[in-house]
């Protein structure tokens, strides 16, 4: 099976009075269906790597093949199209839209695919069911617990049927029990063939991935 992600010599330097080399010569690949974890201390460049993989940030140099296409030099509208159709994001602090229902938030996941609102809602119900929240679909997200909020966020990321699910500290705001449940959910998705990259500084989270990379000062270290 060919690699979903192939990264070679990836660098990301933040310019400024004191330039920060957040990524240094990162080289790795992720096969379709893998669940890969990246661990490392705070400030080691994990989020920067994830943002580059998610086409939200542009690496300073290096190559990046996503599903075998070179995505480094793509114009912004094509990168946006890939984010809309191929990539799902899960954030540490959920990034849900307050004042809206769980269903509304999940339906937002595919809004840039130009699907009809009614169709998007239908799909959203399926994914809310998948994360075990079909009974809460009409609840405003601010009334949900932390674990429930993260489930809504995962359902939203899945709603665009992404080939790549990127999770930045998905359990960072949750107690260990709730975090555990979220990880089980991700494991279940992976079992269904979903490719997942998780960034975390928690080794116990990383341990549940199929593969782990360590990260230190912008450099990918040992593959565990």
């Amino acid at each position: 099976m060919s690699a979903l992600i192939e990264v070679e010599g990836l660098n990301r330097t933040f310019e400024g009075p004191q330039p920060v080399r957040a990524l240094r010569d990162c080289t790795f690949s992720v096969a379709a269906g893998e669940m890969v974890a990246v661990t490392g201390p705070s400030g080691s460049g994990k989020s920067t790597l994830l943002n580059c993989l998610g086409l939200l940030d542009r690496p300073t140099s290096g190559t990046y093949l996503l599903e075998e296409r070179d995505v480094i030099g793509l114009a912004e509208r094509h990168r946006a199209a890939l984010r809309a159709r191929r990539i799902g994001f899960v954030f540490q602090d959920y990034n849900l839209l307050w004042g809206r229902t769980a269903l509304d938030n999940v339906a937002l996941g595919s809004i840039y695919q130009r699907e009809r609102a009614a169709d998007r809602e239908g799909v959203a119900k399926v994914y809310l069911d998948l994360v075990g929240l079909s009974h809460r679909q009409r609840a405003l997200v601010e009334t949900l617990s932390g674990g429930e909020r993260q489930r809504v966020a995962i359902a939203r990321a899945l709603a665009c049927a992404p080939s790549l699910l990127l999770c930045d500290e998905p359990t960072g705001n949750l107690d260990s029990e709730t975090g555990d449940a979220i990880l089980s959910l991700l494991e279940g998705l992976r079992a269904g063939g979903q490719t997942i990259v998780i960034v975390t500084h928690d080794p116990s989270v990383a341990a549940r991935a199929s593969r782990q990379f360590g990260m230190r000062d912008g450099t990918l270290t040992a593959e565990v």
């Binding site: 940030d57 030099g73 912004e76 946006a80 199209a81 159709r85 809004i111 609102a117």
Partner: protein, 393 residues
Amino acid sequence: MVPGEISKDRTGLRMADLVAEAAVGITVKPLRSILTVVGIAVGVAALVATVGLAATTARVVSERFDELRAREVTIVANRLENLPSDVDERLAVLPGVEVGGVLGPATSQSRPVRAFRTGPIASVPIIAATQGGLAATRPSITGRSLDRILPGQRVALLGGDLAVALGVRQRTSPTTVFIDDVPFTVIGIIDRTEREAQLATAVVVPASVAVEMWPDPQAIVLIDVEAGAALEVAAAAVLALRPDAPGSLGARVMPEARNLRTDIAGELNALGLAVSVTVLGVAGLAAVATMMLSVLERRREIGLHRALGARPFDIGLRFLAEATIIGTFGGVLGASSGLIVVALVGTARNATPSIPAWTPPVAVVLGLAVTLLAGAYPAYRAARLDPIDALRG
């Protein structure tokens, strides 16, 4: 390099989603959106009201003016002796004539006039008139007019302002004024006229007396005619007054006063427009501030949308859509309130409200344009936000 699959699959927001998302965006801070709408509405309403009120006023003024002018005929002879002594009677029998007679300066220059022997001297224009000529100015008179005056009887009517200036008003007993030191009995005071406003500061004496006293009183005949009869009366009056030599008289019919209407409307509009455009401008600046604030507050939402696949263009478009909704509400609300104001004021003043048909639609479009202009910079800033910075909040 770009796979065909990507370029073929269009991304971006459907129209319905764009409108729905913009509507939700506005209702997140309802009070703020309402205030922005009200600001734009006030500007638009001011615009509509000024144009409407100016048009209504101009119409009232010029309708009254037009009406009077169209109902006026003036006839000029070289000398007063050229006119028969029974001008009033000859005119009265003509069809279309309400009333008419002599009314013109008795002297080429103002004359010294004083009330009582010792009163202050004023330099005053003297008007020679017959009863019909005076009546044609549509005067309101306290006392008597020039009817039932014997030929050669030295009587006078004082203009209202002049009477006050001479101190005649305060006296109750019959008064005498001295014109060129010749005594005249004051039989009445002309409080007001609808035509020939200069009578307010003049002395009116009988034409028969003027002919005797001064060398060359001007021979002017003023006729108040029925609406639409001016031309007819002008021709007939010349014949009636001098059947022997109608060519010796010149008749004048007032031209249409339509130009005046636009002039008045134009002047009133210029001032009102300046004010309302300023109001609209201020509302626009306020809208820039509130929309900028809303962009700053919604950075995370903007970042999320970028992660979900929004292009910078989609983000900008979304804020412009919000501005469009606010501007449309503001424009429609403003135009309607402006129309209501015009209708209310018009009714209160007993005038038919009048407004150019283009005003409401143009005002709505202007309100929308101002809001879009105000939203352009915030929308641009939102579009240019770095998605990662935005996601961090």
